[in-house]
Amino acid sequence: VNWAVRLRSVTSWGALAALIALAWATWLPTPWGNAPDWTGATDVAAPLTRKLLFYHPALAWATFAAYGVTFAYSLAYVNERRLRHDSAAHAAAEVGFLLNTLALATGTLWGVQEWQRAGQSALATVYTEPKVLVVVVMWLTFAAYLLLRRFVDEPDRRARLAASFGLLGFLGVPASFLTSRVLKKSLHPDVLGAGANPDAALGAYEGAILGLSFLAFTLTFSALFLHRLRLARIQDRIEQLESA
């Protein structure tokens, strides 16, 4: 099991280093350039909150990756009916739910500052945005996934139910990608593709920080998932010993 320990250690230290480097580059000068600063830009309503550009999209990506892992393990459970797959799906869903919550919180605060629709309060503007609504439904589905696991005692029934929620919840990922592309009046910009993307106006240094943010949150998800998976495996072993 040495490789698992090594992988966990490398991803954990890597995530920590990347997050520190990201926080540094977001707010302070580095040998490669000054921290991005939108103060004075006439089209930016909240220059400090705009720095969430280096956190919120990467958090959303890490959420999608986590729910993708839940989807894959849920599918594996449906095919093979092995509880080992169910506990791995649970580990990824728990980490995904945390990242999803953080993405929603940062997105809400950013949207409240930067989005405006005539005759609507800021919060109503954010929570009537199609992409946000899709993500809220996905968040609720995974909240139900985690809650139902507490209330169903029988392991196979719990795993079956959880797998159906895991598969269903993942549909939110392609749905959230599609909403802003299909509905042209969407306020939420696309991260990938040419459609109304403010990132396209970023300079090379800001682009590099954005890249670093995706690396940092991919490593953060990987490290948290590997730690949570280890706990799931210990729990599996305990249940094995107790039932023997």
Partner: protein, 43 residues
């Protein structure tokens, strides 16, 4: 809410949330490891 307050809240929520989850994992790990050691000691 001002821009500075919003940015502060967002970053506090982000890093606070990650730190709280890490602390929760550490506590759960200690509890599970102790339980496993006890069970393996018995077996």
């Amino acid at each position: 809410m001002t821009d500075a307050t919003t940015a502060f809240l967002a970053f506090a929520a982000l890093f606070g949330g990650l730190a709280a989850y890490l602390a929760r994992l550490a506590v759960a790990a200690r509890r599970l490891e102790e339980r496993l050691e006890r069970l393996e000691g018995k077996a």
